[in-house]
Amino acid sequence: MTSSGPDLSVQVAGIAMQNPVMSASGTFGYGMEYEEYLDLSELGAIVTKAVTLEPREGNPPPRVRETPAGMLNAIGLQNPGARAFIDEKLPQLREFGVPVIVNISGRSVKEFAQLARMLTVDGVDALELNVSCPNVEDEGMHFGVDCSSTGELARAVVDSTDLPVIVKLSPNVTDIREIAVAAAEAGAHALSLINTLLGMSIDIDTRRPHLGNVTGGLSGPAIRPVAVRMVHEVAREVDLPIIGMGGIMSARDAIEFMLAGASAVAVGTANFVEPATMRDVIRGIADYCRRHDVARVAELTGALRID
């Protein structure tokens, strides 16, 4: 970028990012999988696939199913466990020179706290709490749909680490603002939203669910208007930086989220469709800023006009 170009850098909960575009957890592996398709050092940050205390096998297939302008997934948090992540994945992730945000998921408050302590190591820049995975019974979802447990969990993690703590909110609630407030009061440093919407699809010939797990999380452009609305609602209610996500396919979509109140955005399902989406989103945001005389991209956050 030339010195006269727009300033794309943002600060989210003390994490300095060269631009506001990061990967959404679970859609980008541990980064390396996409190394051949785009320059990872250009990203704002990398958010990893969920890490759990012990390795997880994940759910039986089929794990994914396309739906109109979206997809259902029920991967089931398959991952090699925190120890293997730290030893094998983290050293490679650090080499890209961008902030690394580790998504963590646990079965109990204690397990989340233990994970937070384990992952408070050099090379990890923040933790994202997966309090809202829809595909694992008695896991995050259990926390993420209830104010007091979200608060308890966030507080336990904040007390276990000096890293910034981002709470990832579930859309599968009556009022997402209540959960957001609970996370904020517990000391969370940022919020990310939204996780996938719980969904289901059925093969009418076999009369069986398409997914091995019966239900799954819906992502992709189909959920974008819901996500934008929720970012808007939460931004008006809570004074914490928001990482907005849900069906972002282009710079246009990313800017929508920022105008609604997001300080940064995450690209998820679009990575599967076009591996270089994040690069294009970053460039498109810069173009938009030039066209609209926006000197700093941070000015877009919450710049929605409602008469």
């Binding site: 592996g29 996409y34 994940g58 039986p60 297939p61 199913r65 396309e66 991967i75 599967f272 076009e274």
Partner: protein
């Protein structure tokens, strides 16, 4: 970078609901190995959203030609069936691990079910030019005559060829596996390769394991990213847990797969 743009040169109808795409794509024509796949973006918009994986059936590097066999099963493949000459496809590939090569002069058996024939045609084709060429026998099965797509392309690349249909409309009557058992007993092949429906592959795996014949299988699964990130295409592994069709596969040694869990659905 494993990605390219392909142009549709010609779409040939090779059976009811079956199409052979002739693509112009120098990168894939030059680099695809038998058993590898390409991950094709079917539309430009958001519906259909995901790419579609297809095995490469044949390549001709001298003419930048890539052939892909498509069976219409849903929205993505139905759209392909309507695409006109000149249509451009963005694709990732070649992706995944292809077939291990047979040993010099080995007797091998290829077992194909329906459109599963595609990667086996590529394998048989690639063996025609090797030194000390293996002796290739093939069995090709399907529900009926119409399911035996591209059978001449397959048969012409094998020394011995048996067709079998469930309704007897072509070749012998029965299942692939009904023919496989006596052929294995008679010919004692040293190695086998198979691609087709999961249920067929599970029985072929059992037969080959019983006969002590190493078997390589090409697996199919609903797929997200195609590059190993989403873990969407995982199938049960014999050693526990799951393996990714896109990355560890699509070709596996049959004993890497947990066929019992595979058949639970």
């Amino acid at each position: 970078m494993p990605r390219a743009v392909a142009h549709l040169k010609r779409r040939e109808t090779v059976g009811p609901g079956h199409y052979l795409l002739h693509l112009a794509c120098p990168e894939i024509a030059a680099s695809a190995q038998p058993g590898q796949f390409i991950h094709l973006r079917v539309g430009d918009g958001t519906d259909p959203l995901l790419r579609r994986p297809f095995s490469v059936m044949l390549t001709n590097p001298d003419e930048d030609d890539v052939q892909v066999l498509v069976r219409t099963v849903g929205r993505g493949t139905e759209l392909i069936a309507d695409h006109e000459e000149g249509k451009q496809y963005d694709l990732l590939g070649p992706l995944g691990h292809g077939w291990p090569k047979p040993g010099p002069g080995e007797d091998i058996m290829l077992v194909a079910g329906g459109v599963g024939v595609a990667p086996l045609i590529f394998l048989a084709d690639s063996l025609r030019t090797v030194e000390d060429r293996p002796y290739v026998r093939a069995i090709f099965g399907g529900a009926d005559q119409d399911a035996l797509v591209c059978w001449t392309e397959f048969a012409s690349r094998c020394e011995e060829f048996t067709a079998v249909t469930e309704d007897g409309s072509a070749g012998e009557t029965g299942l692939v596996t009904d023919v496989l058992v006596p052929e294995i007993e008679r010919d004692r092949p040293q190695r086998a390769y198979a691609c087709g429906p999961d249920a067929m592959l599970a029985v072929v795996a059992e037969i080959c394991a019983g006969a002590g014949i190493p078997l390589h299988v090409s697996m199919e699964q609903w797929m997200g990213c195609g590059v190993g990130a989403c873990l969407g295409c995982a199938i049960p592994a014999a050693e526990g847990g799951y393996v990714r069709v896109c990355t560890e596969g699509p070709v596996f040694d049959a004993d890497q797969i947990d066929w019992e869990r595979m058949n639970e659905r």
